[in-house]
């Protein structure tokens, strides 16, 4: 094993302890970001919706991941046609 790989392994071991908790916090932040971008689709007015809509193609896959994680097999929003 190379020295660099050894360092990476060691780094991973030490980061492992709080990995899940931080991943969960990041995921919650991303969900909130999603809500801020597309709140208009839920009936919450969003003055920047015209611009945030441009991100739609980039967010499609992430939205699919979100609704399946929430236990919904199909997209709950008609605006998002991911599946």
């Amino acid at each position: 094993m190379k020295l660099k790989q050894l360092f990476q392994l060691y780094d991973q071991i030490l980061k492992q302890a709080h990995r899940s908790e931080i991943a969960r916090e990041l995921r919650d932040e991303e969900d909130l970001f999603f809500l801020l971008l597309y709140s208009d689709m839920l009936g919450i007015p969003n003055p920047a919706f015209y611009y945030t809509l441009e991100l739609y193609p980039h967010m499609l896959e992430r939205f699919h991941e979100w609704h399946t994680r929430m236990g919904m097999d199909k997209s709950p929003l008609s605006g998002f046609r991911c599946c």
């Binding site: 780094d11 030490l14 492992q16």
Partner: protein
């Protein structure tokens, strides 16, 4: 006897245990299947369920379970001589801890990565789950109280360590900022932080002005400072108060801000600590001066008290929480459970073995040992300090001056204890919130309410017992209660493993025998402590706090025994048979 020989014998038995016994358990008893789809692969969500490299998982499991507890217990238990402690650590690790940690992991992997608490509900019933929650609550309460006392005691006994420990907090916050705001790596800044801490330790060892020696500032035992407390008692009070304020803040902050970078630095310290102990041992080649068995230890019988004095290091229920709580959700292939679970227990056994050797080689002669360990109370109060000094002496084999090495070891042990304290307060907060949900008391589910209850209850518990130096210095009397609650938790996990194996029609004696041993020793120890030490009868002093806590733990232990008998006699299976065999 030569200390190196003792270490080699211990390591050789651990090796045999891992090589042969764990292989037998893995293949014949738990029957690990390389084709079984583990929860990490079945439910991979990138957060909780993530297939992880087996060495990363072993390292994580080991660093999570290895703390100050496997050091403190053996350093106290050497009171009966090094031989009983050595035999219990070695055989306990091979036949009890290994099977327990490995079994908790295997059981959880076979049940969708569910935790031991949830499995207790499924396998035994709702009563068992509530019992389980209360035992964990008592355990974490004990951990908070005991470790707050341990840290305060080390600060008072080794004031040169204070500066390094407090420097670590801003350094950790800086690393957290660097990593999560500036997108940097954590390895090199954390090594720089560690170096800074050790430079501070070296400097403080040599410059008395940098040592925060509270008892000296407050005038020592002769001066009454406030509330009728002398200088030492008041120092305990001040340190415990500061620690409680610190854990409140640390356990409510987001983990990336302080806890993760601090734990990261502390994991380096585990490596440094083990290296100092074992390399120092092999280079200095000290003789064991402690007696193999101490015939002068007559005020406390080693059976059953040894088995509750050394919990972590021989067997610990806390490991089952880690194994079934996080490790089981990250195991990539089922056969890797052997390395992670059994290997993690062996790692902890090595730490306990190092603790025995450090204390057994510290004293110049057997007379010195008998002077320091002249009563069980003296062993409880001074055990950890003796370990720190013993480890400092071993480090002289690496050409590190003893005073500097002692300070560095004190910093390492305080860091371990602080990590345990942080985690434990956080865990207690979650349990209080869960109990609040269970009994529909919604205020308990609020972060600050739950944390306040956790911190105030822990502070009250550590400050109440009277020690030789008065108010606040008696936290060590809680150690046997901590050991007992930890063993009870392990007994519940072993009971679950036994029932699971019975349902699969396999040989369940590997789990049943350690479970019965633990329950018998725990019941015997608690009955003895309650009646002969704390009840006020037969010449003993009445101690209402210890009597009450001991009685609660005794009832829980008895309850588990009844649940075990009922669950064992049930004809109707409570668990479906595993599909992949």
């Amino acid at each position: 006897m030569n200390a190196i020989l003792l270490a080699l014998i211990g390591m050789f038995i651990f090796f045999l245990g891992y090589r042969y016994y764990s292989k037998f358990v893995a293949e014949r008893i738990y029957r690990l299947d390389p084709n079984f789809v583990t929860p990490a692969n079945e439910f991979n969500d990138g957060v909780d369920f993530v297939p992880t490299n087996k060495w990363v998982l072993w390292g994580h499991h080991f660093t999570s379970v290895a703390g100050a507890a496997p050091i403190v217990g053996p350093a106290i238990a050497i009171y009966w001589g090094w031989l009983p402690a050595f035999v219990w650590v070695v055989l306990g690790t091979v036949f009890a801890a290994g099977v327990h940690d490995f079994g908790a992991l295997a059981l959880s992997v076979r049940h969708k990565g569910q935790s031991v608490g949830t499995l207790a509900d499924k396998i035994i019933g709702q009563r068992a789950k509530i019992l389980f929650l209360f035992i964990i609550l008592i355990l974490v309460l004990m951990v908070n109280a005991v470790f707050a006392w341990v840290i305060s005691n080390l600060f008072i006994r080794f004031p040169a360590s204070v500066l390094s420990v407090f420097i670590q907090i801003p350094l950790a916050i800086w690393i957290g900022y660097l990593v999560y705001r500036k997108k940097g790596g954590m390895l090199f800044p954390s090594l720089a932080a560690l170096a800074t801490m050790y430079i501070a330790a070296v400097t403080a060892s040599r410059i008395p002005a940098l040592q925060l020696d509270l008892p000296r500032y407050f005038g020592g035992e002769e001066t009454i400072v406030a509330f009728g407390l002398n200088g030492v008692a008041f120092s305990f009070f001040v340190w415990i108060t500061i620690l409680m304020i610190y854990v409140y803040i640390a356990s409510t902050l987001p983990v990336w801000k302080l806890l993760q970078p601090r734990d990261y630095i502390n994991s380096h310290q585990l490596v440094v600590g083990l290296a100092i102990l074992y390399l120092g041992l092999f280079f200095s080649n000290p003789a064991i001066t402690a007696p193999a068995t101490n015939s002068a230890a007559t005020d406390m019988p080693w059976i059953p008290i040894l088995f509750i004095t050394i919990a972590c290091g021989a067997i610990s229920g806390f490991h089952g929480l880690v194994a079934s709580g996080t490790s089981s959700k990250q195991l990539n292939r089922e056969p890797e459970a052997r390395l992670v679970g059994y290997g993690g227990a062996v790692g902890e056994g090595l730490l306990a073995l190092a603790s025995i050797i450090a204390v057994a080689t510290l004293f110049g002669s057997q007379g010195d040992f008998l002077g320091a360990y002249d009563s069980f109370a003296a062993a409880n109060a001074g055990g950890l300090g003796n370990f720190v000094q013993g480890a400092g002496e071993l480090a002289t084999g690496l050409l590190i001056p003893a005073d500097i090495a002692t300070t560095i070891v004190a910093v390492i042990v305080v860091s371990f204890a602080a990590t345990t304290l942080d985690t434990s307060v956080r865990l207690m907060r979650y349990i209080i919130a869960e109990l609040g949900k269970e009994y529909n008391v919604m205020p308990l589910t609020k972060t600050h309410v739950a944390t306040t209850i956790a911190v105030v209850a822990s502070a009250a518990l550590v400050l109440l017992p009277e020690g030789p130096q008065g108010f606040g210095s008696g936290g060590y009397v809680l150690w046997p209660l901590f050991g007992t609650s930890n063993q009870l938790l392990a007994a519940i996990t072993l009971l679950l493993i036994t029932l699971w194996l019975k349902r699969q029609g396999r040989n369940y004696f590997v789990a049943l025998v350690p479970m019965i041993f633990l329950l018998v020793m725990t019941l015997y120890a608690m009955a003895r402590q309650i009646l002969l030490e704390w009840s006020g009868f037969g010449g003993s002093d009445l101690n209402i706090l210890l009597f009450g806590l001991g009685a609660v733990i005794f009832v829980f232990a008895f309850w588990i025994l009844i649940e075990a008998i009922v669950a064992f006699g049930k004809r109707k299976p409570t668990l479906p048979k595993d599909k992949a065999m």
